[in-house]
């Protein structure tokens, strides 16, 4: 979220799902919504089919949403910035941008203008593979709408230039005056149910709950008082890739992994496993044994969804209740309880003894944007933060009337850079990865639900008919996909969804998992891995 935080001052979805159905124009970039966020996709499809909204889709793959698009920019993997700069070039050159908005509510426009000038449509086209005419058409369509809503997902963030991609999208929306109004905004859809919440709660190395920075002495004093402790650490901590790296080198001695299956979900599986193996003391806390818990020294059994009460915060900043329906099996306990017991063994008695007490007495008391959210208010549709006081209804869209959280919206011009690893003679294909509809993540959940493996029982490598013909493979035949880090053998799925030169895979199955291949190259700002691009070879077995 660093990108949006820099541009706007707040790193969350600016608008709400219920605005999807009334939006006039969508710009959807790097988001395979129909599979990864299916219900949100239905709202978009309804707007297009039932109410005549238009759609510009920016995605290398012609996935299902492409059927609904007016313009589909099938760009080369990792060329988003060039394309967006090209679109902004047209908007500025043809005087189609929102001058009043830019003047009144933003800063640093001249720098953006200079940068965009370097990307005439012809140059943007040469990099992105999208024709100059299409780039012009997209720009004009964007300018023609009262408001356009940008939706993006991991397709633009899981790149070495992920943060810059996000800033570029933010630049475009500010240029169009599309931030701070209904049916507009910049809307990242979160892949997991509580990514937003984990960020809000301060499960981040640089902020306390509510995005209050650890370097700030006043903030630390506030938490020291609330938690009745002394000398909270003021130095930013490690991000997860660095934790793994340092576990391997021996600087991190104890690693505590809560509910994540890093051994399948992180790029370059062999490397991650070496890191986990070399860690002196590994604590895992989970609901199932996973590929990761194999390396643990201690495993804590946790209560799962529907086994205890609590809150999730969805992509649209909505704090929702989750309630208990069944009992946790055996001795499994709520996760918050486990942490509390450890604190006790260090001599700290934490008072809250239920999720409600934790939220009402600590979380909402400490995070200003959540101050008005209390359990007794969460009976129906939850509440969207910011909600600063108990009588506040919550906030549907951010930065209203061009009043950005940071003051003025900041244009941050960025340059296109190629992915860290690009195809060459030995590895001539680009591998890009993502999720498929019927499974979720590393299948620790869906793999244990009846029926899901029947619908999709194994990984496949999606390749274009053209490449299939050249390689002499037909659908269902096995291929070997190799990268510099590993190789997998999977069935080929021949589909027009992918363009020639691209291989597309998911990471749901251990066998044939794309992460044996993916590149552990990271965005320098967020340390997000480049899951969306690496170089591979494909051969028929």
């Amino acid at each position: 979220m660093a990108g949006l935080a820099t541009s706007f001052g707040s790193g969350a979805m600016t608008n709400s799902f219920n605005e999807f159905s009334s939006a006039k124009l969508f710009l959807i970039i790097g988001s395979n919504m129909t599979e990864a966020h299916p219900v949100a996709a239905t709202l978009v499809k309804n707007a297009v089919v039932n109410r005549g909204a238009r759609m510009i889709l920016i995605d290398p793959r012609a996935h299902r949403l492409a059927e609904f698009a007016d313009i589909h920019c099938r760009l080369n993997v990792g060329s988003d910035i060039a394309l967006l700069n090209g679109i902004m070039h047209v908007l500025i050159a043809e005087n189609l941008y929102d001058k009043d908005y830019v003047e009144n509510f933003t800063e640093n426009f001249e720098a953006l203008k200079a940068k965009a000038a370097e990307y005439p449509p012809e140059r943007a086209s040469a990099i992105s593979g999208v024709s100059a005419d299409t780039i012009r058409a997209a720009a004009r369509m964007l300018a023609s709408a009262n408001a356009a809503m940008v939706i993006y997902t991991l397709g633009i963030t899981e790149h070495v230039c992920g943060t810059h991609n996000v800033m570029s999208v933010a630049n475009l929306q500010m240029l169009l005056g599309n931030v701070g109004l209904k049916g507009g905004g910049v809307n990242p859809l979160r892949g997991q149910n509580n990514v937003q919440g984990a960020c809000d709660m301060g499960a981040l190395p640089n902020v306390f709950p509510g995005y209050q920075r650890v370097e700030d002495a006043a903030v630390r004093a506030k938490f020291e008082k609330a938690w009745d402790v002394k000398e909270l650490p003021g130095k930013e901590g490690l991000k997860s890739p660095a934790m793994l790296e340092l576990a391997k080198s021996g600087n991190v001695k104890a690693l505590w992994i809560f509910g994540e299956n890093l051994a399948n979900s992180e790029p370059d599986i062999s490397h991650v496993e070496r890191c986990l193996e070399s860690c002196e003391f590994l604590v895992c806390q989970d609901i199932f044994p996973t590929e990761t818990t194999r390396f643990a020294d201690v495993i804590f059994p946790a209560a799962a969804w529907s086994e205890n009460e609590g809150t999730f915060t969805s992509s649209e900043r909505r704090v929702n209740m989750t309630r208990a329906a069944s009992k946790a099996p055996g001795a499994a306990m709520p996760n918050w309880w486990i942490f509390k017991q450890i604190a006790k063994r260090f001599g700290q008695e934490w008072k809250p003894d239920s999720a409600q007490e934790i939220w009402d007495n600590e979380v909402s008391a400490l995070a200003p944007a959540l101050a008005g959210i209390k359990y007794h208010r969460l009976t129906n549709d939850g509440i969207q933060w910011p909600c600063p006081s108990i009588d506040h209804p919550g906030t549907g869209f951010l930065h209203k009337d061009g009043k950005f959280t940071r003051g003025k919206g900041l244009f941050t011009p960025v340059d296109w850079v190629p992915p860290a690893e690009i195809p060459d003679e030995e590895y001539p294909f680009v591998l890009s990865t993502g999720r498929r509809l019927t499974h979720y993540h590393t299948r620790t959940q869906t793999g244990r639900c009846q029926g899901f493996d029947d619908v999709l029982g194994e990984e496949s490598a999606d390749i274009s008919p053209e490449d299939a013909e050249r390689l002499g493979v037909s659908g269902g035949e096995k291929v070997r996909v190799c990268s510099r880090r590993g190789s997998v053998e999977v069935k080929a799925k021949v589909t027009k969804e992918v363009p020639p030169g691209l291989v597309w895979m998911a990471f749901h199955f251990r066998e044939g998992c794309a992460n044996w291949l993916t590149n552990a190259a990271f965005d320098s700002i967020t340390q997000t891995a480049e899951y969306k691009a690496c170089a591979v070879s494909v051969e028929k077995i």
Binding site: T42, K45, P205, W227, L246, F258, R323
Partner: protein
């Protein structure tokens, strides 16, 4: 606003079968007929706009007769299966048959369909013998799900809901969201995992939030004896308005897997042994104390979970910051 909308807003009950508030008015089942003063024949209240000064009667003997006749016609080609039907107790046809005193025996010699139940996917069964051709599934797929996978095929008496060329759902574009199942007012479409798991009136309904993606869909958990036996979308709730996807609707039974971790485990050589909470917690605390003492707090690091509740992440970061004294706390999806 239609007559039906106005009636419902004012607490006047009008029965409906093909109507659903999330869908465009359809006017096919005619069970919602009412008498409008000045109109010659009864009108379908779901389709006729209400007008100022309109006088409407919803329960005249004539209307009641018409409604009973509609239900009896439907029953004439309907299996007598309420005893073991999954929908019993939540079925609109059953409810109205009872309400209007409609009996199957009125048309004893009517022709009857005998379709084979279609069990072509892991999540729901289609028994078109029970279908009343209200079109709610067809319209839900098109208007709500936005996919147009199913439609009416054939004509007249042979009309039936079908996939393209009547191939199975798996071969069609169906995404198995089950939104059509939720909209079916009778037992033609039913969830497979719920079969013989409990009657509708035995279920407690618990509202919760989907554990999968970040959309945050609102769900009803249908719970019997402490076990979830079915999940449906919460109508009129933000953000999903009753909709769910395949994961949200059918992906709940992982919690009952035999493979769940049920007790703390401690490594012993290459294997794990079961331990008590006290043992495992003591060991962990001691080991971390020792590491902090020897190598300082920054030798400890933790990754929190982006799927579990806020309160869990909060307590974890609090543990790392206030107890271990390190900011080495992160989660996996920083983007």
């Amino acid at each position: 606003m239609t007559i039906l909308d106005v009636a419902r807003k004012n607490g006047v009950r009008i029965p409906t079968l093909c109507h659903e508030s999330a869908l465009e008015p359809y006017g096919a089942c005619r069970i919602c007929v009412v008498e409008v003063e000045g109109a010659r024949a009864p009108v379908a209240s779901c389709c006729v706009p209400a007008a100022q000064g309109m006088a409407v009667r919803t329960e005249t003997p004539r209307i009641q007769r018409a409604r009973r006749a509609i239900i009896e016609l439907l029953l004439s080609d309907h299996p007598e299966d309420c005893l073991s039907c999954e929908k019993a107790g939540a079925c609109s046809l059953q409810e109205y048959a009872y309400e209007f005193g409609a009996r199957k025996s009125r048309y004893p010699s009517a022709e009857k369909h005998n379709y084979a139940a279609l069990d072509d996917n892991p999540f729901y069964v289609r028994d078109y013998n029970k279908c009343i051709l209200c079109g709610r599934c067809v319209r839900t797929c098109a208007e709500v799900q936005g996919d147009c996978v199913i439609d009416f095929a054939h004509r007249g008496y042979d009309t039936a809901v079908s996939t393209p060329i009547n191939r199975g759902l798996i071969e069609s574009q169906c995404v198995l969201c089950g939104n059509c199942v939720q909209s079916c007012p009778v037992g033609a479409l039913t969830e497979k995992k719920s079969i013989r798991m409990g009657r509708s009136w035995e279920m407690e309904k618990v509202r919760t939030t989907c554990p999968y993606c970040g959309v945050g869909c609102q769900q009803w958990l249908h719970v019997k004896d402490g076990k979830i036996v079915k999940v449906t979308g919460v109508k009129n709730a933000e953000p999903n308005r009753g909709r769910l996807c395949v994961k949200g609707r059918f992906g709940y039974d992982f919690i009952y897997s035999e493979e769940r971790l049920k007790t703390p485990l401690i490594r012993e050589g290459d294997a794990f042994r079961e331990a008590t909470w006290d043992e495992a917690l003591d060991l962990t605390a001691d080991k971390i104390k020792e590491i902090i003492k020897k190598h300082g707090p920054d030798a400890v690091a933790g990754v929190s979970c982006a799927r579990s509740i806020n309160e869990d992440s909060y307590n974890m970061q609090k543990l790392f910051r206030s107890v271990f004294k390190t900011n080495n706390i992160d989660h996996c999806a920083r983007v």
